[in-house]
């Protein structure tokens, strides 16, 4: 197993995440895509830590997992709140930021 393979995997995961954010409308899927991208970054950090023989990267990756867990709680509660107010999780129909009169 060479480090390149890990990096390729990370790039693929990141790309899937990007495309998911841009193309999918379900907020849960969008959230999953974001998580996927974060994980790919974690993977890169861990890989480079191993290559360099420096534990700093690994520690940051571990801290990030903790932060992501906290963030997941906030994200999910936001999505539930949005669902309660708008009765939908389709991001296309949540356009409160746009000019109201143009509707």
């Amino acid at each position: 197993m060479t480090p390149e393979n890990f990096l390729y995997l990370a790039v693929v995961l990141f790309a899937i995440g990007l495309v998911g954010i841009m193309l999918r409308r379900n907020l849960f899927v969008v959230y999953l895509s974001i998580e996927l991208m974060l994980s790919s970054v974690n993977l890169i950090l861990a890989t480079f830590a191993r290559v360099q023989g420096d534990m700093g990267g690994g520690i940051i990756a571990l801290l990030m997992i903790a932060v992501i867990a906290a963030e997941a709680a906030i994200f999910l509660s936001l999505i539930i709140y949005i669902y309660r107010t708008t009765k939908t999780v389709d991001s296309k129909r949540i356009t409160k930021l746009a000019n109201q009169e143009e509707k």
Binding site: M22, L23, V30, S91, I94, T95, L97, A98, N99
Partner: protein, 626 residues
């Protein structure tokens, strides 16, 4: 003395401000006429006393004594200053003495005339304001201050002509006066500007101008003299800028008496006399002024001969007398010109006040052919007006005789025989139309029932009597060139003539006047019929030489056409097109970007990713990563 001199100008400005403010604050009209009367008449009385004190002070001193009252420096740039200061020499002394005196009488008269008017306080605020401006004009020590006074009297005249502002025609008349004067003032200010530039900062007081004028070329002087006279044409109602004066009669009669007969309209004559040293350098322009004066006098006399409105007859006669004054000052007889200003102020104010009394008595009837036989009903008015008429037709020993004779004789003696003939013919016409007025209004066998004539109050009759005494006697001041020697203006001298010639000339003047009177009696003494426009010549005169129509075609319509062109084409199409197009462009561009801001999270995320990608690429280039 200096304090008195400055108070003469300051007090009426103050009183007009007080009157104006009281009138504005007192919306419910609780302040009675008495309050306004005390201030409005008190101040002119006071300044008349001041001016008499100044006469007593100046009289014994030598003729070139000049009193200055310096208030403050208005403009001060480097070595150049414009002072607000007043100058009292013999010329301005004469001017302020009769202005304050006659203004006081007319103020008193106006209290009676205006007593039932709602805008009593407003009227006197304007009236005092006019008085102050006129005094500022004649006492100014430099042309700039003179010009300020010149403009302010124009403003006061505008306000007072349009005083009965509920009728549209009065407003039109006021606008006409203001606009025609503006044409004249334009010339005046050009003249002053050229004079100022060519003098190259040697100071701009009258004294400095007099000293510096020797260094100017004669073409410059000619231009300046001509332009200044354009201003005088406007203010003093001479051809071709006279059209506003007859219409100005729309104002209350005291206004016509004070502003459009006795004082403001003579400002042009005063100005020419004040710049006498300048006009002495350019006698050709002087001759031009004299001819303009003669033509104005003649044209006005012709128009007056066929007019029916009592006030307009007097307006034309004012214009005619102003023409005489310009003949005098144009030929360099400044003393005679100012003397005629002086006597004219008395009898013309009296004529207007008499006309006002008639108009009030007949409940605002102004057509003389609807009057007649009034001498029994209004004896005081009849006698005073008769005296004034005798004065204006230059029957000795009334005031007008001395001043007018001096002018007509000067025209003869300076060998301008054309001018002399015109002046004599005008004198004949003057006698004719003035006595026509007297015969038609006061005599005649017309049995007319007048419904309840308004009696003449004491406020109105006393000024009439005082002015009648004045009109009968002030002429004696001119005997033996007394007035001219006193005022000591730089007259262009003419050869002395034998007494015989003078007596013959005097005889001609009196004869001509008598012929005019007799003709008027033959035509109107017993039976008065209104003039009919039956032959072309009469039509021509009765339509005022078609001058109003001509100006309407030439200026008013063209300017109106130009305005509507600008309104419809330039403004609506070009200017609005440019700005409309610009704003339309902004809207379109806004719409273009609007579609990006659609509120959809996915799209925002896309922009975000593009942005971050671009920034990353940029960083790669910047850091030169291979």
């Amino acid at each position: 003395m200096e304090v008195l001199l400055s108070l003469i100008v300051i007090l009426p400005f103050l009183s007009s401000m007080i009157l104006g403010l009281s009138y504005l604050i007192d919306e419910e009209r609780k302040l009675g006429n008495t309050y306004y009367t005390y201030i409005a008449v008190g101040v002119p009385v006071l300044i008349t006393l001041f001016s008499f004190i100044l006469i007593a002070h100046m009289f014994p001193q030598s003729s070139d004594t000049t009193l200055y009252a310096h208030l403050f420096n208005w403009v001060s740039v480097g070595s150049f200053t414009i002072e607000l200061s007043f100058m009292l020499d013999r010329l301005s002394l004469v001017m302020i003495s009769f202005i304050t005196f006659i203004a006081t009488l007319i103020h008193i008269y106006a209290v009676g005339y205006m007593r039932e008017d709602e805008g009593f306080g407003k009227f006197f605020a304007y009236f005092n304001f006019f008085l102050a401006s006129m005094l500022l004009l004649v006492l100014a020590s430099n042309p700039i201050i003179l010009f300020i006074g010149w403009e302010l009297v124009g403003l006061a005249s505008y306000l007072l002509i349009g005083f009965y502002h509920k009728e549209h025609s009065n407003i039109t008349a006021a606008n006409k006066a203001f606009i025609v004067n503006r044409v004249g003032d334009f010339g005046f200010i050009i003249g002053l500007g050229v004079l100022f530039i060519t003098l190259e900062g040697q100071g701009f007081s009258f004294e400095a101008i007099q000293n510096g004028i020797g260094g100017l070329s004669s073409s410059t002087l000619t231009f300046v003299g001509l332009m200044l006279f354009v201003g005088a044409m406007g203010k003093s109602a001479q051809i071709p800028l006279y059209v506003w004066l007859p219409d100005a009669m729309a104002g209350p009669t005291p206004v016509s008496a004070l502003i459009h007969a006795a004082t403001m309209v003579t400002a042009g004559v005063y100005m020419v006399a004040r710049f006498g040293f300048l006009y002495n350098e350019i006698p050709d322009i002087g001759l031009f002024i004299a001819y303009i004066g003669a033509f104005s006098a003649l044209a006005a006399a012709l128009m007056a001969s066929f007019e029916r409105d009592i006030k307009k007859i007097l307006a034309y006669s004012t214009m005619s007398q102003l023409g005489y004054m310009f003949i005098a000052v144009g030929l360099g007889a400044y003393g005679a010109g100012i003397f005629h200003v002086f006597t004219h102020a008395f009898f013309k104010a009296l004529l207007f006040m008499g006309a006002g009394a008639v108009i009030v008595a007949l409940h605002h009837e102004q057509d003389i052919f609807k009057m007649g036989n009034l001498r029994k009903h209004l004896p005081k008015t009849f006698i005073t007006m008769l005296i004034a008429t005798l004065a204006i037709t230059s029957i000795p020993p009334f005031a007008g005789f001395f001043s007018k004779e001096a002018i007509i004789n000067h025209a003869y003696l300076s060998e301008n025989y054309t001018l002399w003939v015109m002046a004599i013919f005008t004198a004949f016409l003057t006698a004719y139309y003035m006595f026509r007025l007297i015969f038609v209004v006061f005599m005649g066998n017309v049995q007319r029932e007048y419904s309840k004539l308004q009696p003449l109050g004491r406020w109105m009759s006393i000024p009439l009597i005082i002015l009648a005494v004045g009109s009968a006697t002030v002429g004696f001041l001119g005997i033996g060139h007394g007035f001219g020697n006193f005022i000591a203006l730089p007259d262009r001298s003419i050869e002395d003539v034998a007494h015989n010639t003078e007596y013959i000339l005097m005889g001609i003047n009196i004869t001509v006047a008598l012929i005019g009177i007799v003709l008027a009696y033959r035509l109107f003494g017993t039976l008065a019929t209104p003039p009919k426009a039956d032959i072309p010549f009469k039509v021509f005169i009765m339509r005022k030489f078609f001058v109003d129509e001509f100006y309407d075609r030439l200026f008013v319509r063209n300017i109106r056409g130009l305005s509507s062109f600008f309104d419809r084409v330039v403004d609506a199409k070009i200017i609005d097109g440019v700005f409309g197009g610009l704003s339309l462009g902004y809207i379109e561009v806004g719409k273009l970007f609007n579609s990006f801001q659609n509120g959809t999270v996915r799209h925002y995320a896309t922009y975000f990713i593009f942005g971050v990608s671009l920034m990353s690429l940029g960083l790669l280039f910047l850091l030169e990563v291979k």
